[in-house]
Symmetry: C2
Subunit: 365 residues, 2 copies
């Protein structure tokens, strides 16, 4: 499946894959798609540099991208400690009680609390960009609206197109005004941060709003038939995130989580603020339920909520406490029912696309 | 656009239109689609008989259908008065206060309170069926799950296929077991009663679940591109409801409501229990907001809520009290920005379908 955009980017299939795992990104790129590595979990520049070096060695000079999280609005001089100090004690107590209720052990002495807020701080994201520009990154994506103007300019000087996620036509237009090159229209059914407009409605709306910018459709896409639907809606490609979580190349911290993903139905996700403070679709668990319960103190705004629950999530994952164990994932989790290689997934996507097209052509005339 | 199902039903385009307006149903059928008249607003058999007679005269012997609301579970001997008595006084007071706050006048002496619960009672629905079977109805649809087994049998004896709406694969399978012939998979973004699963995910899931039954996709469909997407997902046609509300053949009670629909964006709807007690997507208004407010007593379960607010809705519509004025409608309301004839809409749908197909074929290979 080739579109104007996929031709321009020199890839074989208009399939873009967002993933926190270098092995998945590399495998997708080698399979003819466009692997995009999520940088948010990297605290240190060295770690990211090492993984990008690895990507360079495993992508046969084919294109890959990097997804950073960089708010366009900069807050000067605010440290992680400043943000920590803004968290009410009642919220900390609720986290402690919920973990105790489910018997979640403490982390062993010296083990890190896992994901911290650091990846969300502009300073860190800028450091990641320095690393990115020293590698042959072919696409820069930004999950939190458009990146700051100077970053867009810097990417363009390197000849790197910039993509940004949007959950509404208005957001997409704002991105366009900020000079970005590709809009990822992310529908309600997607995993992670989402708005309320479903992909079926959002995609054509965004395509119209930012014409002639190319649009990728995200949310609810896990089969070739769904890619055909996305292209029918005017997208120039599909942006998939959830589907890779159960590939053999993915490195989830927990086997129990993989089993939960394989068993989950499309109705087993929830849009919850429990993870970051903004609505993000994820597996529904006893943890997300706890934040909806009558006794819940309510979630805090971003970035406080993420900082509040970071260590708790690390403990839940570390000890595989099943009722609480979750991950951001979209409604297509219902169709993720076997572990396969990225190549097998891509073969399946292209086959499904061809068969949808054949079926559609039979309806014409 | 022709599918196995549309050929079988003898229509030119696989476009099914649900509408409370006989003039819309007739125009869609004449334009080569399949008009389906909603029967819920008919209190008396005579009124329905008169409108079906009119349809017979205005459809050139082409097929049309009837949509009834008949719960499969029967509650014997329960009258409307019994249900009325179950409504708490606090809820009645909240309705009165909200109407007063917005200065909504009383209905003139002798004017009816509009839509009542009657259409929801099995007795009434059965009376409507008697009328339907005296007319050349070519499809019987049921909005509340599968109709009772004897009704399915009776329809089949008349050679009439039965369709039922489903918001999940599990519901769809239950319908299949009840002997229905067509499943309408209605996604989250649809107007009226909806579940949480978006059309992009729901359609292929239902197609797989009830194979080989034909599936119509509903929710988020208002253009030919979206119909192409639905067929790519495996649907044998599209079921559209919202789009007809702003056609010139529609007879909304209020011009102000038409203006609101034309002005609304895709983000201006809400899934609310305010109308019937079950989540139904509709325009977001001061009325739906009132049921979400801190001082709200909360909505009542179906059918109590519908009965509670029936007269209030009639008054709001009668006097066009703009802040409160709403209607069930899907997220595609954002694309409904001009009043056109049903024929012009259908022409647009078929053109959009062809252009989506051309675009898709260019991506193949």
């Amino acid at each position: 499946m080739q579109t104007e955009l996929s031709r321009k980017l020199g890839i074989q299939h208009a399939i873009f894959g967002f993933t926190p795992f270098p092995a998945v990104a590399a495998a997708l790129t080698r399979a003819g798609g466009f692997g995009v590595l999520g940088a948010v979990r990297y605290g240190s520049r060295d770690e990211l540099a090492r993984d990008l070096d690895w990507l360079d060695e495993h992508t046969d000079s084919l294109p890959y991208g990097l997804d950073v999280v960089m708010p366009a609005k900069k807050v000067d001089g605010v440290t992680e400690a400043d943000v920590e100090a803004m968290i009410p004690e009642g919220h900390r107590a609720y986290v402690r009680e919920t973990l105790e209720k489910h018997g979640v052990p403490e982390l062993p002495e010296g083990e890190s609390g896992g994901w911290r807020i650091t990846g969300w701080m502009e300073e860190v994201a800028r450091g990641q960009l320095d690393v990115a520009f020293e590698h042959p990154v072919k696409l820069l994506a930004n999950a939190l609206g458009p990146p700051p103007p100077d970053v867009v300019e810097r990417a363009h000087r390197h000849g790197i197109p910039v993509a940004a996620l949007a959950g509404s036509a208005r957001h997409a237009q704002r991105h366009q005004e900020a000079g970005i090159d590709i809009v990822v229209a992310q529908g309600y059914e997607a995993g992670g941060h989402t708005g309320e407009i479903a992909t079926m409605v959002l995609t054509p709306e965004v395509v119209r709003a930012v014409d002639p910018l190319p649009v990728l459709a995200a949310g609810g896409i896990g089969s070739g038939e769904q890619i055909a639907a996305a292209l029918a809606l005017g997208a120039q490609g599909a942006w998939l995130g959830s589907l890779w979580l159960t590939t053999t190349e993915a490195r989830l911290q927990s086997r129990a989580l993989t089993r939960k993903l394989l068993a989950a139905g499309s109705g087993d996700t929830v849009r919850s603020r429990a993870l970051t403070g903004k609505p993000a679709r994820q597996l529904r668990t006893a943890w997300t339920d706890a934040w909806e319960a009558d006794e819940s103190p309510g979630t805090l705004p971003m970035p406080l909520q993420g900082l509040l629950v970071a260590e708790a999530n690390a403990r839940i994952q570390r000890f595989e406490v099943e009722p609480l164990l979750g991950t951001p994932v979209g409604q297509i989790v219902g169709a993720m029912d076997s572990e396969r290689s990225v190549q097998a997934v891509v073969d399946d996507l292209t086959r499904g696309f061809e068969s949808a097209l054949t079926r559609l052509n039979r309806t014409a005339g």
